[in-house]
Structures are given as structure tokens and as C-alpha cells.
Symmetry: D2
Subunit: 115 residues, 4 copies
């Protein structure tokens, strides 16, 4: 059957998460450049339809530790350096979603849905 | 409130679409290389959780026309050269989704949901 | 035979250009979000070895025109919306490179080399 | 001063390496899907100007080990799972380049240049 508005709202939320992750994964990142990357990720994805707000925080300690472990000066962006919150609004439905670490895996979840 | 299984299934479907699109957008592509790219896109995204099948077709005529218009030998992958179908299964729910052109915009949609 | 320092400097310059282009091509972009994306591109690539400076300018008129042509609110980043200058220093060699439009094609070039 | 043909050939070689790496870094990959991804990488980059041949090998043991360490079924593509060889020809100059692991870092190098 056809999807309901809450289901489409969740589909749209998922699109934004997949976009954010796979557009920016692999970007060279260091503690000094993490802030500008986080801002660009937020503003880029907020362009997409139904996307009310995106908040990206870099997990600076995890990032610094990874760089030191590799005896390097920067590393590549991957999910374990990120915490993301996103609000999607579609046809009267509000979806709150987030990505945070579940053990070693960056888990994307629908935290709350209101219609 | 917490999402229902059909809503989570739609969220998961969206993640796969955003991933597929933004991982591969910008890839150099020509009619000769379109087939290997389509296969790689399918198999890459089928790795993701709950993703039963991905089918990617390149719109070869649109691709050829864009390359000729630019007097070039290849171009960069973007949504208007693609048709995608995907089946997601999550907790007993099956979601069928697709991406195809709606005018000039590559529209991602939930076509059918069964639980 | 083995490459000379000026040749390696040019190789390193090319790596940065390919990285910048293919990491960020496809990013959703609008006039409002172009500035944060340009800053993130600069700071991300400046992390890479031997990269002294990166300057990214968005061609706002071309961007605005593309968005209006498509009757849209944003588009995807591609080379025709960018002008980029980069300075690479490797083993006493300075390479100045740029990307700008040559007709419809974003041409990456070595503008000057000093050792 | 202006670059010589061997220097431009090295610049072009670098572009291809940066493109290959940053276009495909972050792609979901498993031992089963590694082959189609490697073929797509080769054929995509061979579209670019002056690129005679690209050979991508996936380091299957390192990939399998990373997946098992994370108790996962797939991981994201990064340089430590790849070996790449590339031949560039520009204005009578042939450049052979490769990427392979130097400790923990995927090192891109000019191996040989002939004019």
C-alpha cells in the first residue's frame, strides 16, 4: 500500500542521514578543521527538502586519539568522530533523528515522531 | 513517540538512497563504464543492513546526450542518469522504493509498503 | 627514472585537486550555504601533506542561475561553480595551481613552479 | 616558470589518484562486493584525460580482518584496503604511479617516469 505521511517523513529523514554520511565520509579532518567541516555539513544538508535543522558535533577526543594512534596530523572523517541530530518536517509530521555511537558502530535512529 | 516498524523500515530505506546517491555522485562516467559503476553501486549498498536488493539502471540515452552536448568523452554521475529500485526488509515489513526523474529532479519515493 | 622534486611537487599538487573535487562534488549547495562549504573545502585539503594554502571561491552568479533554471532552491556542487587556487611546497619547490572554467570544463592547471 | 611536460604529466597523475581515493572512500565494502567496486574504480578513472590504465586490487585479508575485528558484515572503503597502479601518458611522457601501504598510511608515489 501507499506510505502514510509519518512513513514518508521517516523516509525523508533517512535520505538526509545517508546523504550527510556518504557525502562527507573520507574528508581529511583534524581538530583545527573539524569546526568548519561540521558547519558545512549542517548547512549543506539543510538545503534538502523537509530538513528543518541539522546539528553536527565532532567528537574531538576520539578524533585526537585516532590521529595520535596513527602518529599522523589528520585523519579521514568517519562516523565514529560524529554526533548528529536532525529534525525533519513533512506534511505536519515532525521526526527527530540522531546518529551516535553504539559500541563501534555509528547508529542512525528515529528518536521521536510527532504528528 | 517511538517509531513503528513500518516507519523504521522507511527510515532505513531512505538511508540507503541517500548513501547510494551521495557516495557515487560525481563519479566520472561514460556509456562504456556505466555498467561496472551500476554493478558496484548495487553491490555496495546491498551490504547495508536490511537491504534486500538494489537495481541500478543507467539512462544511457540521457548520458550520451549530455556527453555530446558538452563535446566531451565522459561526464560526472548525477541523478538524471539513473533509475534505481530498492527493496528493504525490516522486522517483517517490506518497503519498495525507487528513484526516477520527475521533470528535472531525481525523485526518491516509497512505492509500496507491506507488513 | 625516478621523479625529480619538481615532478613530485606537481604530483602532490594534482592529488590535492583530485581530492578536493571528488570529495565535495555532489554536495547540496545554495548561495546561502556556499560560504561554509568553501571554508570547509579549504581547511580540509590544507590538512594534506605539502599543502600550504587553498582558496575556494564559489561562482555565485553561475550557481544562482543554475538554481533558477531548474526552478529549484539548491543544486549539487560541480566544478563550474568553483574557482580554486592552491599552493604546494615540496622539498624547496613551490607550485601554484588553479582550477577555473575553460569553456564548459573546469580545467586544473599548474600556473607557476619555482625551485 | 611554466611547467614542463613531465611536470604536467605528474600533475595529471596526482589528479587521478586524488579523484580515485576521495570519490570512493567511505563506500560500503565486503569481500563479496570488493570485486565489482574495484572494476568500477578502474573504469571510472580511466575515463579521465591522459589516463591509460588503472589497476585496483583489494587487500582481501586486511578487509576481512577489519570486518571480523568490528564483528560486522561489511566496512567502509579506505586506503588500507587498496593497492592501485596507474599509467598516465601526457605529451610523450609516461608516468607510472602506485598507491600501497607505507606502515599505516596509504602512500601514493611516482614509481617511474619516461619521456
Amino acid at each position: 500500500m501507499d506510505p502514510t505521511p509519518p512513513q514518508v517523513a521517516c523516509f525523508e529523514a533517512g535520505i538526509k542521514f545517508g546523504s550527510l554520511y556518504h557525502q562527507f565520509a573520507g574528508t581529511p579532518v583534524s581538530p583545527d578543521s573539524a569546526g568548519s567541516l561540521a558547519r558545512a555539513m549542517e548547512e549543506a544538508i539543510e538545503n534538502q527538502p523537509y530538513c528543518e535543522s541539522v546539528t553536527v558535533s565532532v567528537r574531538t577526543e576520539a578524533l585526537q586519539a585516532a590521529i595520535e594512534d596513527a602518529d599522523a596530523e589528520y585523519t579521514e572523517l568517519t562516523g565514529r568522530f560524529l554526533e548528529v541530530e536532525m529534525v525533519i518536517e513533512y506534511d505536519g509530521v515532525t521526526v527527530e533523528t540522531s546518529m551516535s555511537m553504539d559500541g563501534d558502530y555509528p547508529l542512525m535512529e528515529v528518536d521521536d515522531l510527532r504528528d
